[in-house]
Symmetry: C2
């Protein structure tokens, strides 16, 4: 079991460090060991090797079973030409190399963190726990032909059967291990690409008789995410609708520091949904939870360690319930714990509940 | 000044009646008179003439200076074939006949109605007062070519210079009478149609040096509408993005009964953003405010009566501030006022403040 670890820039190194502490607990408790191969990406790689995604890093990633990334980017490298910058030359190039086809973004609004959510307590209800499964390889962001001249600009919004089948199976597989509800979001009352999408999703659904499938139009979904977010379990959607809805959902918990993500491809990539937050980097105040939950996703989806993933998620939840907060989620910033304290608390709790 | 009045189905007739009371106050105070020509549409027209958009109604609309619509549809007509139903055969056919190119959806979260919004008071801040200007005639909902077979489905997302110029001017003109801020929402980092959109919007902006223009990506806009909705004044966007964002925005006030809309075309159409609400029709409990604010929009945009429109909006706001509530926005439904009481209260307040 080999993991490529790419801490990157900004808060990346400090939150990755905490996640690796959690991994150590898992290793100790299970007796399993992971080989961690560290690589450089983004500004960190530019400073050392003059390029944001060096050959060595590519090699490490292609030889690993999973890639565990911190974050990239910062003002120091913003004046470089776009394709030399940490984001485009580093992270986007890595994502492209991995042929990613699915982006998985779980969103949880913890009952004990209702105060940081922009939504009222009564709207959150018994809690929000949803995951967006976004198709990542096709749709209007990649469709051909496309063009631009002085008078017009156009793109092609397109889906084919095999692309929809693959992402639908991803969503149904994830739903099987959750509350067994898939909401497929499209605009099939208007768009031909959505009509194909809906037809194929209906076909795939027959392979999963235990999972309940409903369809929702994207405009209504954008509204329902605010009016009644607790109705959603797994949201299955296209590249563009997923881009919009996963960012809308990301606003619900009130801090990006809580949100993990996974992307599936030739190799799977695990990274927090937030950015490198250069303004708070190196101060030991960032929230490591997004990175720790990304680790849990890696254990579940790349190494089949579902139980262990659930234990990590439970430890995070218990530590939050006990009132420990990093600054981004604290009602009183004076009482906030540091990055490393939060990591230690989660490790300790994980040992306790194992 | 001739108005085609189409009360339609469900709560349509009762809320239109209250709006016309308000118009009477305006006539009395200004000395101006409006010729109101009543027409039938939707289920109401089906029951009388066997079709949802009779020739007589079309004629009335084409001869009027503006069209004032209630709402259409209800379970009674749901078993008809789609093109004979109130929605498709009536409202959509009317919209098509009018060659509509802009949909204007103002959203206000009143300070005194913060309890019905799904957002927390601190998020609403000093209040939300935004308007979405959605391009309605082009984009991926109408682009050619499009197609569907067993293996794939595709649509064309397209904009041309003259379509973007027209909708951009509409947005800047509206912003001139408001807080003078336009946020143009696109996805110009990925989509060629959005690159043209952004270029042309920038060109039109030069004609409006007093209006501040900013650009925002659609995924970020979906997030910002929840995190900090008070930052928006006028949101200018494409047909599809406007479909999504205007419905997302519509969730913010907590009741559809508060939301007016206007659509510009060969003739302008004014109607509430909500539906015919057949479950509460005929009970004198519907909220007439959406219809009354649609009247204000008609006075402003079709008859240049900006002052009079502001007065109606102010009267509505004052009545709400004084604590009067229809059932949809009442904390205690026992204390709710009826449809006609709310109409009378707004008329009385309007006379007072004139
Ligand atoms: Mg996005
Ligand atoms: Mg819509």
């Amino acid at each position: 079991m080999k993991i490529a670890v790419l801490p990157g820039d900004g808060i990346g190194p400090e939150v990755v460090r905490e996640a690796l502490k959690v991994l150590e607990v898992v290793e100790k408790k299970t007796g399993k060991t992971f080989e961690k191969v560290f690589g450089h990406i983004g500004g960190d790689a530019i400073d050392r090797f003059g390029e944001p995604l060096p050959e060595e890093t590519k090699k490490i990633c292609l030889e690993a079973d999973a890639i565990f990334l911190g974050s990239v980017g910062g003002p120091k490298w913003d004046d470089l030409p776009p394709e030399k910058r940490p984001e485009i030359g580093g992270l986007l190039a890595l994502r492209k190399m991995l042929n990613l086809y699915a982006n998985i973004r779980p969103i949880k609004v913890y009952r004990s963190l209702v105060h940081v959510s922009p939504l009222k307590e009564k709207v959150i209800g018994s809690g929000v726990d949803l995951v967006t499964v976004r198709e990542l390889s096709y749709g209007v962001y990649y469709g051909q032909p496309r063009g631009l001249d002085e008078e017009k600009g156009f793109d092609t919004m397109i889906y084919d059967r095999k692309t929809v089948e693959r992402i639908a199976r991803t969503a149904f597989e994830i739903a099987k291990n959750r509350r067994k509800k898939v909401t497929s979001v499209d605009k099939a009352n208007v768009l031909y690409s959505s009509m194909l999408w809906r037809k194929v999703v209906n076909e795939v659904a027959r392979e999963y008789p235990d999972v309940e499938l409903t369809h929702m139009y994207v405009d209504n979904a954008a509204m329902q995410l605010i009016l009644k977010p607790s109705q959603f379990d797994v949201i299955l959607t296209t590249n563009m609708f997923g881009d919009i809805l996963s960012d809308e959902s990301a606003a619900l918990p009130g801090s990006l520091g809580l949100l993990p993500s996974a992307s599936f491809g030739d190799k799977n990539l695990y990274e927090p949904a937030g950015g490198s937050a250069p303004d708070i980097a190196g101060k030991n105040i960032a929230n490591p939870i997004a990175q720790i939950l990304s680790l849990a996703m890696m254990l579940e989806h790349s190494f089949g360690m579902v139980e262990e993933a659930r234990k990590i998620e439970r430890a995070v939840e218990l530590v939050i319930e006990e009132g420990y907060r990093t600054r981004d989620i604290a009602e009183d910033p004076e009482k906030a714990v540091s990055t490393s304290q939060m990591g230690d608390l989660i490790c300790k709790k994980l040992e306790e509940i194992w």
